[in-house]
Symmetry: C2
Subunit: 309 residues, 2 copies
Amino acid sequence: MTNDTNNNDGNPHRNGCAWVEGEFVPIGEAKISLLDAGFTRSDVTYDVVAVWNGKFFRIDDHLDRFGRSLERLRLTPDLDREAMAAILHGCVGRSGLDNAYVEMVVTRGHSRPGGRDPWNFDNHFYAYAIPYVWIVDVGAQLKGSHLVIARDTVRIPEDSVDPTVKNFHWGDLTRGAFEARERGGTVSALPDQHGNLTEGPGFNVFTVVGDELRTPDRGVLHGITRRTVLELAQDQGLRTTVAPLPVADVALADEVFLTSTAGGVMPVTMVDGMTLGDGNPGGVTMALRQAYWDAHDDPRWATEVRFKP
Amino acid sequence: MTNDTNNNDGNPHRNGCAWVEGEFVPIGEAKISLLDAGFTRSDVTYDVVAVWNGKFFRIDDHLDRFGRSLERLRLTPDLDREAMAAILHGCVGRSGLDNAYVEMVVTRGHSRPGGRDPWNFDNHFYAYAIPYVWIVDVGAQLKGSHLVIARDTVRIPEDSVDPTVKNFHWGDLTRGAFEARERGGTVSALPDQHGNLTEGPGFNVFTVVGDELRTPDRGVLHGITRRTVLELAQDQGLRTTVAPLPVADVALADEVFLTSTAGGVMPVTMVDGMTLGDGNPGGVTMALRQAYWDAHDDPRWATEVRFKP
């Protein structure tokens, strides 16, 4: 998909560049301690921003959300927002990637002597840029995915882990992925405990019925791609409803699609074994998909990568 | 508490020894990739076995449980049980620690080219031995802990993540720890969605009423220390009940204690601000605590560390 290796020979960061313990390192050396509570307790939050054609997409919105996530988890890294942004620019610039998946992470880190309580830890910031990640690759997107909604697993509820704080608690999503595979699906999503749809591993889900777009309000990450689609849909004169979405309604929709920073707007053409419409990606979906990629040049949302090595 | 640094000068593993990518390394070099799905999806299981006075405690039971956890998550490391056991012995022996906290971990690892689905990953085994960890240090144990049961957070339910597969999904437990701190507690535990007690960060909970021990049956790890206490209690003529334990009953118990490989049998003397009995660790609790530590020399359960550098 990308031409990222052009003119990038001899660059030690060509496969990706990370910021680890105060230094830029090649992605292969991007490591954290086995004792970091970000690993041993999954006590961590993160965010992912895309770079497309040399420009960050909505980086301010991602940094805003990341800041809120840090506050909620009471994580206090030693770097402020500007310093974090500079590191993201530095990772992308050094990698030479035009299209990149850029992740920022703060872990609870290591306990200070004499304590194992989370308020006695030194928190750590990590970041990296790697080639753009596609949850569904472009060829498969144009064919359309088969979405299976799990029956044996429900999404971790909000009164256990807050899904609006981007987190690595994916045990339920991974279980759902195995179930989906057994049932012939190519992508999976989870219901909540009340029979409403939530989200899948790394993406939100939308239905289209007539001129109405619907996506779940609760139990999900408030994805930036989800928000972008809601905004673009209004530009296109579509109605948007953010409200509970019963699982039983999904397979009855005219169209279904997934949204993620890692893949954009991804058409679904089959749900739980039932074909949607004529089995091809839907018109509303494809128009939103086009608008989404066009928006990556929109000066409201695009930020040139500052760092050039 | 330990004399672990005796005769251990100059040993690069004196602070702990880890097995990482086929090598024994000092604990400070024990790292995993930021891209390992064990981190990025908390797609991982682990187990912890103690070494006390140079002997593993119930290592076969820990390896059995670890094997079951691997099966449930469909993790298939390249090493069999015997090889894993040999590595654990190797970590402890190299560290020179007489009393150690010994962890084994298998992560989902890295995806093979062309996939992000969990069945297309190469799984990785890690292990390490570090000085014995006390969830509650011995001085605080003899005084007794103040257990606060969270009101704002419930344990991740079984239909999302299986608590009998030891996992790092601790976001709910960490939230509970912050709440407990604000309410004056020194340790915390979580209820389930039905108002029954589950567990705390790294430990099971027991109540004692008369000659009856009670501990929750569901929504909890089946701890090896929990099992040991149930077995020792029967030797002492106590009745044992493994059944739902309503949160409201905990503060009304005669005695309460916590169990963990990282600390043993730990008395609780206050629950949600209410003092239990006369405010001192209870007699049943202290007798079980003594029996627990005595059992570390019992030939049924003790296994001499094989590797001596």
